[in-house]
Symmetry: C2
Subunit: 366 residues, 2 copies
């Protein structure tokens, strides 16, 4: 499996599209906003760029894509008003893998620019929004060409499924699971951790070359308390796939040889890679936790359990479907997410099911 | 009609897609290559950029999109080899209107990069290809941020259909035609010329702000000998639409109120706008002419007349269909281009049917 070919959110604007089912990611962006604000403000006050150049890595395709840019524009305007200086122009690069649905993002840009023009109090210098397709596990921009890098809910997608999870002899190490699970042997955990370390190191090194000295990053990713803790959503999806294997609906071998290109690191693992890579100062590393469905409750506290489960299932489907369907086919997806929806909130009552989010603020050493 | 909403080549990679029917544009790019080469070489020898930043305006979506970038990469490599200097990195922005099919372009990038990597003799510094959606009749990039701008077969699309072609009272000036034709009154020509002057002035002013001093542009567009000469392909399409009106297949009013957002200027008109705008030195302005179907003959000299007509009709359809269908609907398109195909080569024998191409080389004043 070539991760670049299959890792993308559901495209378009239909019922199962990511664009219509990204409430979770929106809630995370809101929570992290004060940290992004502080970082941008610091940047504006120290670098005074004529044109602020930023990149959003793993921008996906939906309302959140331009939300980040919009928040940053608000912030720059406020900061420069406080400084009593003319605001800079802005060049924003929206990055995602080449199979991301950039067309939908681009088609929403005329409306976005129009809204900016209609709110003169939001007026910056000119604002230029470009798309930059490619993997952030490698170089994306010229040397010293960016001031700020943002990434939300993207870095947990690693560049490839660790090769060692299936031995050269074809033996699958992580039978019956699609990610690190309680029943996974230690070798599985080790393979994932090593892949994460390699990937995150390449990520940091690439960004270090691209950012100007003093430039900064705010990265939000899914994390874990201990690397093998039992709360991951993909472990739960794995149990449903396992049920379908037991009922003969999915071939056992297909499940055994499939693993998600995903890793949720601990704060300690993050800190160690940053330290070892050496280009960045870690300004801040925050952890916040939420029950799986708390963002749904937050958006509408009046929803009953059944409705909450349906929304949550659709949101996870929008994220996971392309990659799961690449292994198991489109056919079992309806059944899989029906099972997910039917059981997920009961499961939450039985086990401690939380998203753990890590927010990492970094500054490139001068 | 909002030109931004309807002006794009046929998307995707299907039978009537622009991607599969852009041989004409390819032939033009090949013809212009020596002029682009000279311009890039001059640039490399005078500016010595660490990262060469270029933009292709009106890149469309098809094999030609990356052909231009590929040619420029070859050229930079050769030039820097001659200079015995390490080659710069390259940041290339592919620009088109937001409704262009960028997804198809972006999905071909991994293969493009892979090919570059496999040809070490083609190796530059790193090469970064981004998409920049937006109208080139306005700002697209920050101040002083580009070294070279290329545009091929895009500037003949003006920003809007001249408003004066239908009077405030609803009277259509260009009855029975969709572009300047022999039977068009002088007011039609005047409206088009004024729109062109406004648009090309905005284009030059925008690029002047974006290019570094000494930066350059090579622009290829369709031109005319006299502004009202009778050779334009859209005049011919107009006669076919007129036939369909006479047969009751298209409403007369629909044809009378429709005009193409297109203008093919003379060299004199081009020179006058450049002179009046004042930011650029005109280095070179070349005219070359080709029979409508000569690019088809060139690609395969063994094709019979019927096959040549079919290829030519499909190529023009790939360009014109979205905008024509926005006025006349999808339904009459098959019929329209069948008529086009049936008559076009006979028409060429009766009249002098040529594409006139203008190649404009400009340098921003220092």
């Amino acid at each position: 499996m070539e991760v670049q070919q299959v890792l993308h959110m559901n495209g378009g604007v239909g019922k199962t599209s990511y664009a219509n089912n990204s409430l979770l990611q929106r809630a995370v962006i809101s929570t992290v906003k004060p940290i992004v604000d502080a970082s941008i403000e610091e940047l504006c006050c120290t670098l005074f760029p004529e044109c602020l150049k930023i990149a959003d890595l793993g921008c996906s395709s939906g309302p959140n894509t331009l939300l980040v840019v919009s928040d940053i524009i608000d912030n720059i305007r406020n900061t420069f008003q406080k400084l009593n200086r003319p605001p800079p122009s802005l060049q924003a690069f929206l990055n995602d893998l080449p199979r991301n649905d950039f067309n939908t993002v681009f088609r929403s840009l005329p409306g976005f620019y129009k809204k900016l023009d209609e709110e003169p109090e939001k007026k910056l210098g000119p604002c230029f929004i470009a798309g930059m397709p490619g993997s952030f596990y490698g170089r994306l921009f010229p040397d010293n060409s960016l001031h700020f890098v943002h990434s939300s809910y993207a870095l947990m997608w690693i560049s490839e499924v660790p090769k060692g999870l299936v031995t050269k002899e074809g033996e699958a190490l992580n039978n019956g699971n699609i990610y690190i699970a309680k029943t996974s042997p230690p070798a599985v955990f080790k393979q994932y951790l090593e892949q994460f370390k390699r990937d995150f190191t390449v990520f940091l090194r690439s960004r270090a070359e691209e950012l100007v000295p003093g430039g900064s990053m705010v990265l939000t990713t899914m994390g874990s308390i201990k690397s093998d803790d039992p709360l991951c959503i993909w472990e739960f999806v794995g149990t449903k796939l396992n049920d379908m294997v037991l009922e003969g609906l999915i071939e056992e071998e297909k499940l055994d040889t499939f693993n998600m290109p995903y890793y949720a690191p601990t704060t300690k693992e993050i800190e160690e890679v940053i330290e070892a890579e050496g280009s960045f100062i870690l300004q801040n590393l925050e952890v916040f936790k939420n029950d799986w469905d708390s963002y749904v409750k937050q958006a509408d506290s009046g929803l009953d359990k059944k409705t909450r489960a349906a929304i949550f299932a659709t949101d996870i489907r929008a994220v996971g479907e392309p990659i799961l369907a690449s292994q198991f086919g489109e056919a079992p997806m309806d059944d899989l997410f029906r099972r997910f929806e039917a059981d997920v909130l009961d499961h939450m009552e039985r086990e401690n099911c939380q998203f753990i989010n890590l927010v990492i603020s970094l500054t490139k050493k001068r």
